[in-house]
Amino acid sequence: MISRRDFLQVGMAASALYGAGGMGNWARLAAQQTLTQDDLLRFDTSGNVTLIHITDIHAQLKPVWFREPEFNIGVGEVAGLPPHVTGADFRKMYGIADGSVMDYALTYDDFVSLSQAYGKVGGADRIATVVNAIRADRPDALLLDGGDTWQGSLTALRTQGQDMVNVFKALGTDAMTSHWEFTLGIDRVMEIVENELGFPFLGANIFDATWDEPAFEPYQMFERGGAQIAVIGQAFPYMPIANPGWMFPDLSFGIRQERMAEMVAEVRAAGADAVVLLSHNGFDVDRKLAADVPGIDVILTGHTHDALPEPVLVGKTHLIASGSHGKFVSRLDLDVRDGEVKEVNHKLIPILSDVITPDPDMAALVEAERAPYMDELTEVIGTTDSLLYRRGNFNGTWDDLICNALLEEREADIALSPGFRWGASLLPGSDITREDIFNATAMSYPNAYRTEMTGEFLHIVLEDVADNLFNPDPYYQQGGDMVRVGGMSYRIDIDQPQGSRISDMTLLKTGEKIDASKTYMVAGWASVNEDTEGPPIWDVVEAHIRKEGTVSIPSNETIKVVGG
């Protein structure tokens, strides 16, 4: 059973204790105050319209650990701007006290220690409690889901997203947009959208590839508080490039800025008093879109998994970043009058699973969805001595572990693991269950390939991915992180153009420089190519962990980062 623990909030006391206690163990030092559900939910209801935003939950129905990134580098005009601020700089920018709940929720540096005080985050039953509490204040609050909902867990994989569809219907979702949803394949997506979902699946930028005609509803108008609220959906723009296009062959995506301007004009002409963009563009793309397409009042951003405690204002557009994995819910109260948004009040609510009481109905639904898979989910495969996490521009310990598994199980010189941003964390000393492995790997094109690549091609791959991350124009960024590399070190100069960023590629097992003309045996997973052969990555990782018993991931020193 879930116990309600008392919560330690350091508040102002933290700075006084800093000198005496040193870094770490804030949990022990912080003993002044208890944190309650009311504290987390406190909000002075205002205006006439409330929006609730959840995004990128990646099928996490149960509370998880989730460590935020240490490296989240911004380039060009956005260098040093949120969300490209981490750790102590982030706390300073937003006035967050060391050891406080928002330190735990939004920064990485003291994660393991603070996790002991604050506990796991997320959980559909806790989210339901928060949604219900907001709707007790404002019964017609709009619940908007930014997508990446139907993928990321064993149960979502086994049920082809059905568990998530059922949960988000039960939450009372009003509209959603999409990204990984399409990796279930177009037939399954259409089955859900047409027969099961019961709320709009919006995507103004999704077109029929043959005829270049709109393929999904672009927007939905809602009457709330006497005002017309237009919610426009924007799916992930680089769907057929970043994910396997063969799974949805007749669809074309793209940013389609002109189309967005047309949609804003269309909903305004149709009487919208407020325009909300439910987006899966990624934060920097949305920031540029907000500057180039006037008339959007609120952009509910997604995809890049950023969480910000305050809106970022671009002109009159409020950009909201609500995190990922169910860790946060954003609440916005809007005062919409006379055809415009007069005021926006916002709160990023951290879903602390030990503070927020589970909603019993949702808890029962989640248990029912998981019940058929419990034996499979709970089997302990090994343990970890290290904190396992994924987020970071260049590497994370989860992918270090996956690369180690690929190198050894697939007998490769070099391993590649894609720069996904989804995947829960695991604390040092934890068991690693099969569920944990799937939380970092569950998807529909998991086959672990083994193939020869020349040094020249490996360089092209790294340059290509680096430009998707560090191109100074956000419209050329795909929103993932750098491909993770095992067995090879390299140097990256972020500020160089594509083709000149990556150098000093070195094969770790021999210490020799990578030769452009030589071939190397490379193992990887999540190829977007059809008919990729190999065992699913979770089997590779499971076999490796079983052999290791206890995994230990040393600090990764293989990537030298310059610039940025």
Partner: protein, 138 residues
């Protein structure tokens, strides 16, 4: 696994673009523009070129051009072995001076549209379209 079509495409193209862009292609683009304009001055703006920022399939990239008041619009793909894509001519009865087509792109490159206006002046615009391996989106 065999890293198939996509890999081959990118490999071949990376090399081709690197070799050709500085020399052959650029001169060919200048020649094509000079032939279209007869050497007249070309100003920026007045013509819109719509294309994806990143091509979903470099073999068939949908693009459209629009230049109100134009009598013809020429499109060039600056990084292709042969940069000529085509020229659209608009008769006096055409209600709108716009056109759409699909182009094959040999790699990341600029698309260029040059429009001849009814008064004999010329305008141009360009847009970079990236051709990428992809496969690592968040």
């Amino acid at each position: 696994m065999t890293l198939s079509r996509r890999e081959t495409l990118v490999l071949g193209l990376g090399a081709a673009v690197a070799v050709m862009m500085p020399l052959g292609a650029h001169a060919a683009v200048e020649d094509a523009i000079a032939a279209f304009t007869g050497g007249a001055d070309v100003s920026e703006g007045g013509v819109t070129l719509t294309a994806p920022e990143i091509a979903e399939n470099g073999n068939t990239v949908p693009i459209s051009v629009s230049a109100p008041g134009a009598v013809s619009i020429m499109i060039l793909a600056a990084g292709n072995p042969n940069p000529d894509v085509g020229t659209f001519n608009f008769g006096p009865l055409m209600p709108r001076q716009e056109a759409s087509t699909r182009v094959r792109l040999a790699g990341t490159q600029d698309l260029i549209a040059v429009a001849k206006m009814s008064d004999g002046s010329f305008v141009q615009t360009s847009r970079e379209v990236k051709v990428t391996i992809g496969g690592c989106g968040g």
